[in-house]
């Protein structure tokens, strides 16, 4: 299977721009995967950068790299989550980020409460919330990242906020 590579076009290795993106974005991408619910955010962030590295010379412009990276993290996190659902049919132990809503309420803390609420949101709503309110992306960037229309982003954000308002009320509203 060691076929010759003579016909393979020379590949442009990513350079300083890739390195700078890695240094500035690795931890952010790892945390993005975590907030999206992945249980192996480090692996997802690493795998995303490997894919970006391999496709660097196919990107039309280096400034598209950040968008490609976000899309890859979102897609890998979604894939990971889907399979976790299968694994957890007979869970060995409850992951820390799957605190039940009841436990969260008893804890009375915003932080664990939000975990439970986020975990209960439909996948697309959770993605939109995290991209908008943690990564501070605008609607166009969210639409590009998720591969959906801007109008869908607006509607999904609205539904997600309505769900959050119900499930995660202000202390005075509880």
């Amino acid at each position: 299977m060691d076929t010759a590579t003579e016909d393979t076009p020379a590949r442009i290795e990513p350079g300083a721009e890739f390195d700078a993106l890695f240094d500035s974005s690795f931890e952010t991408m790892k945390r993005l995967a975590y907030l999206l619910g992945a249980d192996d955010p480090e692996n997802i962030a690493q795998e995303s950068f490997v894919r970006l590295h391999e496709r660097w010379d196919t990107l039309a412009a280096p400034d598209r790299a950040a968008g490609y990276l976000r899309r890859t993290v979102v897609n890998l996190s979604r894939t990971r989550l889907r399979h976790l659902r299968v694994v957890r049919r007979v869970p060995e132990a409850r992951p820390i980020h799957e605190v039940s809503a009841e436990e969260a309420v008893l804890a009375g803390d915003d932080h664990p409460r939000l975990r439970a609420v986020l975990a209960a949101l439909p996948r697309r709503q959770r993605q939109v919330i995290v991209l908008r309110y943690w990564l501070d992306l605008d609607q166009n960037a969210i639409a590009e990242t998720l591969g959906i229309a801007v109008g869908t982003v607006k509607a999904t954000t609205s539904h997600a906020l309505a769900n959050l308002r119900r499930a995660w009320p202000e202390r005075g509203e509880r």
């Binding site: 299977m1 060691d2 076929t3 010759a4 590579t5 393979t8 890695f22 240094d23 690795f26 931890e27 790892k30 945390r31 975590y34 907030l35 249980d39 192996d40 955010p41 480090e42 692996n43 962030a45 690493q46 795998e47 950068f49 490997v50 894919r51 590295h53 391999e54 496709r55 196919t58 897609n75 890998l76 894939t79 990971r80 889907r82 399979h83 299968v86 694994v87 049919r89 007979v90 060995e92 915003d110 932080h111 939000l114 975990r115 919330i129 995290v130 309110y133 943690w134 591969g147 906020l161 959050l164 308002r165 995660w168 202000e170």
Partner: protein
């Protein structure tokens, strides 16, 4: 609503800080890239399709269905020309997932099914294991990762090969969405699949060149909720896996 948004931002920031900083992310990346480079040089471009098929089938086929057969459970792969460690080096994405079951060890009991499926221009890969009932509770386990199409389970001259182009036409990708390949060992005589809605999955004719024993299904939609059932030659159910 602004109060809610402010609380959301603050809580998400706090949640994100739960994740500790990595100790040597650049070193980890360099190791993965080195493994990827070796793979690229060894399996160039589309010619990699056949090799990838061998590598995948080599891992999955020998472990596909091992229930109640302690002699066979310990057998070495019989359809592969590559060792498992070779395979792991070639596929760096598989090197570090949190595997509850090391790929290099055969289970004492239990059965496994490998699944590959296409979604959003990427081939996903699953390996399920269902433990035997008994002193230990049954468990689902799954080493998995998303795979690039360039490295995917491809058959030369199949429509999937065309999809290896990064700019594959959306209509082609849409056509391939929901395609599922189930790898199984030789003692699986037949398989059926039902979509999440309960209707039987269509069986397409593509991927005829795929190595190893496999069954193809077209779910015409997501793999979520689909049920795959493997039968032996007598028609008895060997395994059921829900996607």
């Amino acid at each position: 609503m602004p109060e809610l948004e402010d609380r959301l931002r603050a809580a998400l920031t706090t949640m994100a800080e739960d994740v500790p900083e990595s100790r040597d992310p650049r070193g980890d990346l360099d190791r993965r890239l080195a493994a990827s480079r070796r793979s690229r040089h060894r399996l160039p471009t589309l010619a990699a399709a056949a090799a990838a098929t061998v590598a995948l089938a080599g891992v999955v086929a020998p472990v596909a269905l091992d229930r109640g057969d302690p002699v066979r459970a310990g057998q070495a792969p019989s359809t592969s020309t590559e060792s498992r460690e070779d395979w792991r080096a070639e596929w760096p994405g598989f090197a570090t997932p949190p595997l509850p079951l090391p790929l290099g060890r055969e289970p004492e009991s239990g059965l496994r099914l490998g699944l590959a499926y296409l979604e959003n221009a990427e081939v996903g890969w699953l390996l399920y294991e269902l433990g035997e009932p008994g002193p230990h509770p049954p468990q689902w386990r799954e080493p998995m990762a998303g795979l690039d199409l360039e490295r995917a389970v491809l058959a030369p001259r199949s429509p999937l090969e065309m999809a290896t182009q990064l700019e594959a036409p959306p209509d082609l990708l849409a056509e391939l969405e929901g395609l599922v390949v189930v790898f199984a060992r030789d003692d699986v005589a037949s398989m059926t699949a039902r979509r999440g809605a309960g209707t039987p999955a269509r069986i397409p004719s593509m991927l005829d060149g795929l190595s190893g024993k496999h069954f193809l299904f077209d779910l015409d939609g997501p793999v979520d909720g689909a049920v795959f059932t493997a039968h032996d030659a007598r028609g008895d159910v060997l395994a059921t896996v829900t996607g």
